[in-house]
């Protein structure tokens, strides 16, 4: 009995190194978030925290969740999902940011 399956492998040669590197960057970014939170940056405090969180999420999505080696279909799916979330946020703030 033979097994037939489509594209079982994500990438041809799995390696440990890249993930450890991404993890190190994530640890450093966590340190940066905590350090920056101690400084009063006024209005851009939230923006800084969110920017770092977005960078961290991007790294997790791209490397840990393998979007880098998945087909374009996956990236389009994720992009559309995030776009709709972004639309909800944008529409919500048209109601609130002009109070």
């Amino acid at each position: 009995m033979s097994e037939h399956y489509t594209d079982a492998s994500l990438e041809h040669k799995p390696t440990y190194g890249i993930y450890i590197l991404v993890w190190l960057v994530l640890m450093i970014l966590t340190g940066v978030t905590v350090a920056v939170a101690g400084i009063n940056l006024g209005n851009i405090t939230v923006a800084t925290a969110l920017t770092i969180a977005i960078i961290k999420s991007y790294l997790v999505l791209t490397f840990f969740m393998h979007l880098k080696s998945e087909s374009a279909t996956f990236r389009i799916f994720v992009g559309v999902a995030l776009l709709f979330l972004l639309i909800s946020i944008a529409l919500l703030f048209t109601d609130y940011s002009f109070l």
């Binding site: 037939h4 799995p14 440990y16 993930y19 997790v60």
Partner: protein, 207 residues
């Protein structure tokens, strides 16, 4: 390329790409669930900025930071477990999955102590101390308990999922050619990690 000879052999059809895509679709529903809560948070934070800052001072930044590091590391160990099984290193994969489970447990124990301290300080939904505070602070703690609580629930679900996958790996059901289930559990675990990446600065670092 398939040949005529291959078609005469009965085969098991498996669609790993389809399985992964299915998992991603499920993760989008999680995105909507937590996304909605983040929207609620955004509105109340915008309308109660001062009170949110005061309330956030009650949270323990060190415990929050520790939990961030624990969760990020557990994300690394689960992704390395997938690499290990793909390389055919079953023992290392099982070891890394067990480390992930220990880290998940560590996160929950940490969360238990964190909530315990809050509750001892009388800061829980409906407590007299909390109800004596301003409406913004009541909302902050309401959101804190609901959002970190729902996240902790996801950590528990992830723990059970990974535990099942560890069992499969030991039994050989997950192996170097069939590891899509471990992949799916890993995707779920990373989503839990991403949610925490946003919860952490929004609750613990706004003082």
């Amino acid at each position: 390329m398939s040949t005529l000879a291959e078609h005469t052999v009965p085969h098991v059809h498996r669609d790993d790409v389809g399985s992964r895509l299915g998992m991603w679709l499920f993760l989008f529903t999680e995105l909507i669930l937590f996304g909605g809560m983040f929207l609620v948070y955004a509105v109340y934070r915008y309308t109660n900025q001062q009170e949110f800052h005061v309330a956030a001072k009650e949270l323990n930044t060190s415990l929050g930071t520790l939990n961030t590091l624990v969760l990020l590391t557990s994300s690394l160990t689960i992704v390395l477990a997938i690499v290990a099984i793909r390389k055919g290193n079953k023992r290392l994969s099982v070891f890394l999955q067990i480390i992930t489970l220990i880290l998940a447990l560590g996160f929950l124990i940490n969360k238990y102590f964190e909530w315990n301290i809050k509750i001892h300080h009388g800061l829980f939904p409906g407590s007299e101390i909390l109800l004596g505070k301003g409406s913004g602070e009541i909302i902050f703690f309401g959101l804190y308990y609901v959002m970190t609580g729902l996240h902790a629930l996801h950590v528990m679900v992830g723990f059970v999922l990974i535990e099942i996958m560890t069992g499969y790996t030991i039994k050989g059901k997950i192996n170097s050619t069939n590891y899509v289930r471990l992949e799916a559990a890993g995707l779920y675990w990373h989503l839990v990690d991403i949610i925490w990446i946003f919860l952490f600065p929004l609750f613990y670092l706004i003082t």
